[in-house]
Symmetry: D2
């Protein structure tokens, strides 16, 4: 599997009157996690859209809220890809609190769409090539 | 089942550069749907928090993105409760586009927490009483 | 002057841990106010962009925060146009709390940009024609 | 004057259908700029609220939108304090694009409120002590 870690400081804007991070803001956290994960693989999503004319709309999302996150906490987003993408690509994000405890788990599935035709396309082969070497590799043991 | 409908005009703030409603904004749509659904049942969520000291944090959310929603579309949020709440309460939201086609399906599960102790509590009995009469009733045939 | 009123229910998503509406959300309120004000004049901003290829980016914004707004309050956005637009158009928004007291004052100035060329253009004449009849008219006395 | 710089990567969530950063998101950028500026001075705003019971609500904001910011741009927030705070504190934020050009200028004025009484208080003396040494100092020449 491929696994990537990125840090995030919770801002005031993201909290709600309960004093927690608003549940709707986790989708933005998953976005940050997966875009930085792809960047670390050598894929800049902005270039995929602007240079190659490929969009990746979200098809589904599942979130589990395990512990609340608070203002100014320094969170860690751990984003993993467990399978070689095919017609879709799936990202698993674990959000860890500053004390290392698990706060949230998210799974987001995206597809590939050609900008011009707005039609779905299979995963571009170069994306498979970037990810394939990592699948089946036990990252924990590296 | 209990079913409630509320309208929503998509604002510029909610769109992204793809020209779609950003996938993270649907959680806010589900919130609007369920708060207005509860209001129509006679339960004002703000009073639940402020007068009765009961919070309803979100435990899980599932979203399916079926068709994109666009700027200035007049959406319809159809929020249903299918089961009598117990330790949790579950809301199903179908988001329909202006042309009536299904755009998105969301399921959000919330629990009940006592403000003071921050401990989980069972569903307050008066909430069961508000919802119970609707369960088992075929709202389509009314 | 031209004056238009629209209602808004504060959602949980818009609050912060202080229990107030987050100060960054007022820009979205001003957007809602001015888009509904233009709609009431017969100008649908979405059509201006999509059918006429004219964008209206924001050039400046000033906000005064007078009283906090709270969760679930039913606010009133009072949007006024005081002057005939020229190279820019200016909207004044007063946000009133549920009890009628003034919560916030905003002034937003926008310009006109041609979608294709991304160049600034003067105000389209039909927009002047929509607004001109209202300027110099005392709306309070109607 | 006191001047602090922090970096920010524009996320998809922050863009709108115009392809620009939505104008309402700059307030969140100013927040990030000033909170990190205060942190660099030794003041953690979260501790001010939670340990000392002092809130800093925003009283006014002015924004000038000079050039649009785009998705995935690496922005720089330059936050300055020009004057010793008194009954209020004022932050000036210049937002620079990835190419160094000025995108946006913001001025945000905040006051100090005691959490318990919800009454305004003068600036806590230790905040004056943190900032005073920097005022009158030409940071450019250091």
């Amino acid at each position: 599997m491929f696994k990537h870690q990125t840090a995030w400081r919770v801002r005031y804007a993201e909290t709600d009157r309960m004093g927690y991070v608003y549940y709707g803001n986790y989708a933005m956290y998953y976005e940050t996690g997966r875009v930085e994960a792809l960047r670390s693989l050598g894929l800049i999503y902005q270039k995929l859209e602007d240079d190659l004319g490929v969009f990746m709309p979200v098809m589904s999302m599942q979130c589990k809220f395990i512990r609340p996150c608070y203002y100014d906490e320094l969170l860690s987003f751990e984003t993993s890809i467990l399978e070689v993408p095919d017609s879709t690509i799936q990202f698993h994000t674990d959000i860890l609190k500053e004390d290392g405890k698990l706060a949230n788990k998210g799974v987001v599935t995206l597809c590939f769409v050609e900008k011009e035709s707005k039609k779905r396309i299979p995963v571009p082969p170069f994306i498979v090539d970037l990810i394939k070497p990592w699948i089946g590799v036990d990252t924990e043991s590296i």
